[in-house]
């Protein structure tokens, strides 16, 4: 591999590929870190107590551990979740040690290519993507990810609409006084109208809430809402990249959300997964 030696393999990286005939080893990736003048070696343990080390190129590095060229895979969901939590733990330890990081997804593993070991492939990738990675590091500098989810309890909202909406109230009264057959048909009409009013109500809530919280943060991303669970509808799913003071403002804006049947979930701080 024709790299100039503008990089550094901490520990004895690459040795796994040394044995003739051995399967090419992989490198499990946790995150890219930005380093100062000199690299402070990580001290955390990774998935399955593996040794986490840094592969450096200029002033950035990747935290990694040596692994087989195959994904972590188990039938035991608890085991998989433990791996995921361990992945996250390493990244969060890196966040506090190095401040500025770009996280990889779980199970991101680099393989060696023919004639090239995995560590070299990784260094080559760092070299080729150096400017892009530096720009991303600049964007996330001093910021963390927060997640805002807003839910609507459709039962509560429907009850409220039935009590306050003129059209629905009138139709309900008509159902009440109609003969059995006609009442049945009117009931269907009422349900359709209620569904439409509920959808309009949810749309209005989405726009009102969106407009009240997004001015507090400079960078955010609207995520897909999850399918409804029972009677709970997700109105808004927002990933926010925020500094500490922006987070406080966001929290204040969320505190003010006060609509019947609406609940807010606010989690973080997370590594900036959504802004890669």
């Amino acid at each position: 591999m024709p790299h100039n030696k503008n990089y550094f393999l901490a520990g004895d990286a690459g040795s796994l590929e040394g044995a003739a005939g051995a399967l090419p080893a992989g490198r499990y990736l946790y995150c890219v870190i930005e380093i100062g003048d000199s690299l402070i070696q990580p001290t955390m343990r990774g998935i399955d107590e593996t040794y986490v080390y840094a592969i450096q190129y200029r002033d950035i590095a990747v935290l990694t551990h040596d692994c087989k060229s195959e994904p972590y895979n188990s039938d035991d969901e608890r085991q998989v979740i433990d791996w995921v939590l361990c992945h996250e733990k390493v990244i969060e330890a890196a966040m506090s040690s190095y401040a500025n990081i770009l996280p990889f997804a779980f199970n991101t593993i680099v393989k060696g290519k023919p004639g090239e070991v995995a560590a070299d492939s990784l260094i080559h990738w760092l070299e080729m993507n150096y400017s892009r990675l530096k720009s991303k590091l600049k964007i996330v500098c001093g910021k963390k990810e927060y997640i805002v989810k807003v839910f609507l309890d459709c039962c509560i909202a429907a009850t409220e609409l039935m009590n306050t909406d003129f059209e629905l109230k009138a139709l309900q009264e008509e159902v009440n006084v109609s003969a059995k057959g006609k009442a049945f048909l009117m009931q269907g009409k009422l349900q359709t109208l209620l569904k439409q009013k509920l959808a309009d109500h949810a749309d209005k809530l989405f726009h009102d809430i969106y407009a009240s919280i997004t001015p507090t943060i400079a960078k955010y991303q609207v995520e897909k809402v999850k399918p409804p669970e029972k009677d709970e509808l997700m109105l808004l799913n927002l990933s926010c990249l925020a500094e500490k003071n922006e987070c406080e403002k966001l929290g204040e804006a969320l505190e003010k959300i006060n609509y019947s049947g609406v609940t807010v979930s606010f989690s973080g701080p997370w590594p900036p997964y959504s802004f890669m």
Partner: protein, 91 residues
Amino acid sequence: MQPTREQKVTLNDLLDRVLDKGLVLNADLLITVAGVPLLGVSLSAVLAGVETMNKYGLFTQWDKEIRREESRRQGALTSQAPTANQELKTI
């Protein structure tokens, strides 16, 4: 309102991100499956399934499309969420 990190509340938030987002590597460097929605179906089945299928030359185009779509999606600053109105129609 303060953000929470209580695990029983935030595990889904974490899984959504750790499994589906993060820095994207060139697909030719990777051995793993990026961008496949792992939750909601068996985590291991999807991993094993796609890897095995790819090994035998199956679903490689699908896999490429998934990766491309993931790269495109993550490259976009914001994405359009389905409106609450659309979701409500599925209740």
